[in-house]
């Protein structure tokens, strides 16, 4: 109520977008755990991005003794063939985050497009798309991923594509459900009456109203695809050595001797997976609350 409008309308645009983001920010801050998680995530992502600068050694170079325990020179010790674990961990985080983010992007795009089409057009299009979605969903996906990884050579980009193509059904269903209810609202009808084109209605009217749930769902997809990447790499079907990923670092720790007497080989990557996944999930939970338009009208 209080502010007086300046002569340019542009000013107002800025004021109100800020205030919406401010509301979200304020509500997000209430979740201390999530705020803390976000800081940790930021630090870890920063470290991953800056890996070439901050890593003490070349991750693929043999620089020390075999399976050397942590010491001054190698803070997290060395692995079975004498590579620095800390350097490999930093590079592994890069790979794991890259796989997670890219797979999430791919599945979000596929899910959003299919969900929008199914929900808005209904009828036959909806039937075909949703039955296809059910099919992908009902398939034991780890098997699918293994078969796909066996057919296409396992490798970084193949893993990203495979994970991207199995994780979209949840998003498609979510978007479809939202579109179905939005389609009946008066503002969509008003836009039809106003003769607005389909692309405007789908992408400018409907999509912004489903962004919040998509974003929340995407965080869980991000966590899941990082876990999947770790699982696949652990099984040897994922990112191939010598490239380090959190999963294939764990792969080295399959023997009992390593598990019991050389914990520096598996605790760092294992712990890193746990921290990343838990932090992402906390952030997602808080986002759900912060973005929900019904949790607080003003």
């Amino acid at each position: 109520m209080g502010f007086i409008m300046k002569s340019q309308i542009i000013d107002i645009d800025k004021i109100s977008t800020e205030s919406y983001l401010q509301t979200v920010y304020r509500r997000f801050k209430r979740h201390h755990l999530a705020a803390f998680s976000l800081i940790i995530l930021a630090v870890l992502c920063g470290a991953a991005v800056c890996a070439p600068i901050i890593a003490p050694y070349d991750p693929d170079a043999i620089v020390g003794a075999f399976s050397g325990a942590p010491c001054r020179q190698f803070v997290l010790g060395t692995d079975q063939i004498g590579r620095d674990v800390l350097s490999r961990l930093l590079y592994a985080m890069r790979i794991s985050l890259l796989v997670g983010v890219m797979a999430t992007l791919i599945s979000t795009v596929i899910g959003v497009v299919l969900g929008l089409l199914a929900g808005y057009f209904g009828g036959v299009a909806d039937m075909i798309i949703m039955r296809f979605t059910d099919m992908v969903m009902s398939f034991p996906y780890i098997l699918l991923v293994l078969v796909a990884a066996a057919i296409f050579k396992p490798g970084l980009w193949n893993i990203i594509l495979i994970l991207g193509f199995v994780d979209w059904p949840g998003i498609a269903r979510l978007v479809r459900g939202n579109v179905l209810s939005l389609r009946e609202t008066n503002f969509i009808k008003g836009n039809i009456v106003a003769g607005m084109p389909l692309r405007h209605i789908l992408f400018s009217e409907i999509l912004p109203n489903t962004v919040a749930p998509i974003l929340v769902y995407a965080t869980s997809v991000l966590a899941i695809s990082m876990l999947d990447e770790a699982a696949l790499s652990f099984l040897g079907m994922g990112v191939q050595p010598p490239t380090a990923s959190l999963g294939n670092m764990l792969n080295g720790a399959q023997s009992l001797t390593v598990l019991t007497s050389q914990p520096w080989l598996w605790i760092p990557p294992g712990l890193m997976i746990v921290i990343l996944v838990v932090a992402i999930n906390f952030v997602g939970d808080a986002l759900r609350d912060a973005l929900d338009p019904n949790s607080e009208k003003r």
Binding site: I12, Y20, G190, V193
Partner: protein, 332 residues
């Protein structure tokens, strides 16, 4: 003067049936006959009121006039041209001429957009404004509907119902329409705000030479704004004519009941016997035989259960275009 002769909107035997599906193997069980053979016309510059209970099909007619739904049967003429025959380009042009104001003003505005965006996007798309004139045009719109200019940066939830309805009206006006369907625009508002919005619509009509179809379920508000009124019951028009004429000399028993249902703010009238209706409007899936109203009509005779009454001119006041569909008109 020629403009006066051709109706702006003409509806000819419009029907809208919705299939009802069900069963273990999905099949059509029957039809909801929401609109069942309705004809009327609206002249340029006129406010036509459309009244009836919930379920009488009045909103369905409104939705079809603005092209949200297509009639199952029958035709809609806009300036003498059949809407269904229009090509894509012509239709896009006509679309902007036929606008709608919704009952629920909250859901008729995108909650994620501020008012400026809501108003500007259609105007830019249809090239009604250019980037240079947009600001001026929008401010003029706000003036027209009585809103302050500082509303532009706010979101729909930050407004009261009356203000939102003004925004809804501005949005409809932004495309420079000739004809606006007002689908119960005041039903969700406080009584004091209702009067403001009704007066606004009336003055806008004069100012912009608009033609309105005013859909409502209370005869009070409809009578206040309308030049002519059509009364609907179960998908059909039962009485149509000049607003004053309908209100003062109703002939159809249903219209009489509707008028009696308008609350009178006068304690002296308390004792007056009012012919209030009992029961519910029937199901539009299973329509009564003969006159559709006979199940609730106080005057219904044997003939009413069998014979479907035709629209006939009411002879009380000849030449006023007052028609009603009741076999007992002549007897009274």
């Amino acid at each position: 003067m020629d403009m006066e002769k051709i109706p702006l909107i003409q509806v000819d035997r419009m029907k809208k049936y919705y299939p009802v599906k069900g069963g273990i193997v999905t099949h059509t069980l029957g039809y909801v006959k929401a609109v069942d053979g309705v004809s009327f016309s609206i002249m340029q510059g006129e406010i036509m009121g459309l009244v009836g209970e919930s379920g009488s099909g009045k909103s369905t007619i409104g939705r079809q006039l603005v092209g949200l739904e297509k009639p199952t049967e029958g035709t809609i003429y806009y300036k003498g041209k059949n809407l269904a025959d229009m090509g894509k380009d012509e239709m896009r042009n006509v679309r902007t001429r036929l606008q709608m104001i919704f009952q629920d003003s909250y859901s008729s505005l995108n909650p994620r957009k501020h008012i400026y965006e809501i108003l500007a996007q259609p105007m830019l798309y249809h090239k009604i404004s250019t980037k240079e004139t947009l600001e001026k045009d929008i401010l003029r719109l706000l003036d027209m509907v009585g809103l302050q200019r500082n509303v532009l940066g706010r979101y729909p939830h930050e407004f009261s119902g009356g203000q939102r309805q003004r925004i809804g009206i501005a949005k409809a006006l932004s495309l420079k329409p000739e004809f606006i369907v007002c689908d119960e625009p005041v039903s969700a508002l406080d009584v004091s705000i209702q009067a403001q919005i009704l007066n606004l619509l009336k003055s806008l009509r004069k100012e912009l030479n608009l033609t309105l179809l005013f859909v409502g379920h209370g005869l009070g508000a409809v009578n206040y704004v309308s030049d002519r009124i059509a009364v609907m019951y179960l998908g059909q028009i039962v009485e149509i004519g000049d607003a004053k004429e309908i209100f003062n000399h109703p002939v159809h028993p249903y219209t009489k009941a509707l008028i009696d249902a308008v609350p009178v703010p006068d304690p002296e009238e308390n004792g007056k016997v009012r012919g209030l209706l009992q029961g519910d409007i029937g199901s539009s899936m299973d329509i009564p035989s003969g006159c559709r109203f006979h199940t609730r009509c106080a005057y219904a005779g044997d003939k009413c259960c069998v014979e479907e009454p035709k629209m006939q001119e009411v002879l009380v006041n000849m030449g006023n275009g007052h028609y009603a569909a009741c076999p007992n008109i002549m007897d009274k």
